[in-house]
Symmetry: C3
Subunit: 358 residues, 3 copies
Amino acid sequence: MSYTYARNCWYVAGWTHDLKSDRPLAVSILGEPIVLYRTASGRVAALEDRCVHRLAPLSLGRCEGERLRCMNHGLLYEADGRVVEIPGQERIPPHACVRGYAVVERHGWVWVWMGEAVQADPALIPAAVGLDDPGWVLGHGQLDYAAEARLICDNLCDFSHLSYVHANSFGASENWARTRPQVIALERGVRFQRWLPGEQRMRLRGQGVGDVWSSYDFVLPGILLMSSGAYPEGTAAACGGNAPPPELKEQATGVTFTSQAVTPLTDRTSRYFFSWGPRRGQGDETLRDALMQVAFQAFGEDRTIIEAQQRVIDATPEPQILPTSADRGVTMFNNIVRKLARLEAGAASPVSESRAMS
Amino acid sequence: MSYTYARNCWYVAGWTHDLKSDRPLAVSILGEPIVLYRTASGRVAALEDRCVHRLAPLSLGRCEGERLRCMNHGLLYEADGRVVEIPGQERIPPHACVRGYAVVERHGWVWVWMGEAVQADPALIPAAVGLDDPGWVLGHGQLDYAAEARLICDNLCDFSHLSYVHANSFGASENWARTRPQVIALERGVRFQRWLPGEQRMRLRGQGVGDVWSSYDFVLPGILLMSSGAYPEGTAAACGGNAPPPELKEQATGVTFTSQAVTPLTDRTSRYFFSWGPRRGQGDETLRDALMQVAFQAFGEDRTIIEAQQRVIDATPEPQILPTSADRGVTMFNNIVRKLARLEAGAASPVSESRAMS
Amino acid sequence: MSYTYARNCWYVAGWTHDLKSDRPLAVSILGEPIVLYRTASGRVAALEDRCVHRLAPLSLGRCEGERLRCMNHGLLYEADGRVVEIPGQERIPPHACVRGYAVVERHGWVWVWMGEAVQADPALIPAAVGLDDPGWVLGHGQLDYAAEARLICDNLCDFSHLSYVHANSFGASENWARTRPQVIALERGVRFQRWLPGEQRMRLRGQGVGDVWSSYDFVLPGILLMSSGAYPEGTAAACGGNAPPPELKEQATGVTFTSQAVTPLTDRTSRYFFSWGPRRGQGDETLRDALMQVAFQAFGEDRTIIEAQQRVIDATPEPQILPTSADRGVTMFNNIVRKLARLEAGAASPVSESRAMS
């Protein structure tokens, strides 16, 4: 990977409903080939997708109970990555094993920890909303990008692009670009929030008339969690531009929630997972489908400009950006990534790190 | 670019009729991404196609009067490349600008000067014939090559290929290969001329019976300007193989003119622009269309062999050519390119050049 | 080529019936572009597919009697590679020649010797069975791989893959993987043979009931020659697991023969040629077609896993294999290749070799 990503994070590898038993699934995260499979007992295993024998992908293999058999010459793997059988051979070399990844199913997604499995902490899984959550009526989709993940993350940390990239789909006004949101540091991410008085609102159906409060967290490794809802006109002014107090929150109408995840597949390819829809009782399947139609148009607009941006970057000898004041959140998030990556590198090679710091 | 091209030249970037207002046009010349756009007042601007902010292509932008707005985060560019607005930010850094290119519309083509804009001299634009020239009935077309431009230029400087590459389309006899044209040095190119007595003429309609005088200039950076016409039989002999005298030129019949331009897009891709047709009064739209049909067949034959040649070159560790006596004009033209490129490099880095020459 | 192949071998370049007169055929072997053509007198010539003049491929050329003319600027080549005509030029430089390859048509294939032509020894052409051999009823086909040839050779030297890769097509039992064949060193290859008692046999039609004796040679540079046939039940036991004695061989029923050839086209592409069918009198065209149907399915299965294996290898920084006891034949064959390649390198550069050996 030419860009440095943090490893001690949970990356979204796919939708839990796409992982059938008897059907290993090949994914690539941070350029590492990974096979996911559901064992006979129903749990998910994630292994390095590369047989120790002759490097055939285990994702072309066969699920056998809790195990996975390579269908090249039959080596059988335990769910932790150890080879437990070599057909026609008694002895199994002790180093015959592939890497096993910590993996958790939660909120409708399969999350893979790319750091050392022993350090995997499920408490760090972001609070996405699953497709089966009874509180929401959610649609979902995914898009593959011919671009590095960080460009998609940058884009999600600066919504001033809405005024231009999404002028057609969302019909966002130029106020998105001409004003700045509140940007708040979180431990593993950044919070962006702002009021959208009536005239600034986007061409979205279902939100009641009034001022819209929009707030989202963008957290490691590239997860966006956003809710927005409408309040009576004048609420924005009454709150002095700050977040509505908890007792007001119950009164919001037209509330929607979207969970989004950016996963670096390889150096120059990424997968973008997303769900979106209204709070149950404040919107139905018809509204959900209308929102998803807008979402697919808008996320296609993002992809068009980001893939074009990637091509320009790749054709530029020493690409350099010129940040604007709209980049504050982008910079904050990238610093969090960089700091964690540096910590990880230091933990992995303490000597060279201490030398660099002396 | 792995091959050295001259920069202080006018390269054809496109047809003027393809440059609509409100529709920026992306081109690449010498590997540099360039956006062309027509301003509200009707003139053409050419800028580096790479926003200073995050490198999105300006060719996805929006024309606003004389200016161009990047549709990523809204930076607004003056036609000379300066950023004049960053939405939501007062201060504009003084170095916020992209490169502006000198650009001229003439003879139906948009010409871009790839050297320093201050050195751009419109007098150096070759005398192509525009599609709207009332003296000619012209068809036109263009072809993209997966090959470097210099191979196309080499091909256009040695018409001995007509006997073999175009045996089918033009029906050219082997005399094209077995005899040599007059090759005359010009200041910025090479002139090729020859008589084609009756039996050597190509399978082209519209030229009167007789001896055909064919003459073309191939000038920097890769522009071919050719006219041919028929004279009474015996004229070639009467002229002793030399050009027909000016007073005779009025008597030529079946006269056609073709303008052609080779533009290096990237290291291994090129664009070939061409027009062709009879002198008005000596041929009509039917003849023009017949000529264009032959031209498309012939230029497709060129592309087939040149792209194949490129693939062989790229698969050869240290490719070397073995010039023949037919390569005289090729060598002359390449020396002109090399000399100008060397001059440019010297002007750009006087110290290293003077060291190299001591 | 990133992997080292032996050059002093006959590589299969194509089927003799695909080489029409008047139609030069472009092939690539070991990354070298080669043009094959059939001369007016009916013999086959093989030349470097790269004109000395400007490197256009001669495979776009025109057959003229025993010679081949480049259709770029008309250079004419003798069948040994010498330029014998440059149109419009008297003098032909003495070094104007391309490499000529030793080439032989035999057993229905065109074989090209990739070493020095003077060392080419037709006695080293493996004993494949040609499509026109009256003793057999053969079908044939070929497949292109996006993978290096050695991976295909490795696969053909270890039939334990039959139990897994071909579980569907051949319906091979796990006994192929759980037992090991006899592996016998040959001078330029390896012999693999084994008995398949009734219960181990594959889902193939046409073999009589009983024990099947399967034996194949895999010889330089990557040629597989295999025959199998059925004997009365109990024969395997009576032979003590060894080859059936010559006097028994006449009694075999359901005998089939397959010839297969693996040719490295480039570093990462290969061509796989194959024929298969019953001994005449022991099977007819219907059986042949049934066998070919299974073969196409099976060889497609091989390609799927080998191309996937190649992609994993290419994405792995320092790929390493972990051989099993099933790899004995693979290792033997690769050692033969390596030894011959080393000999060739030594012959080519005696000084450095003798230094390495001191």
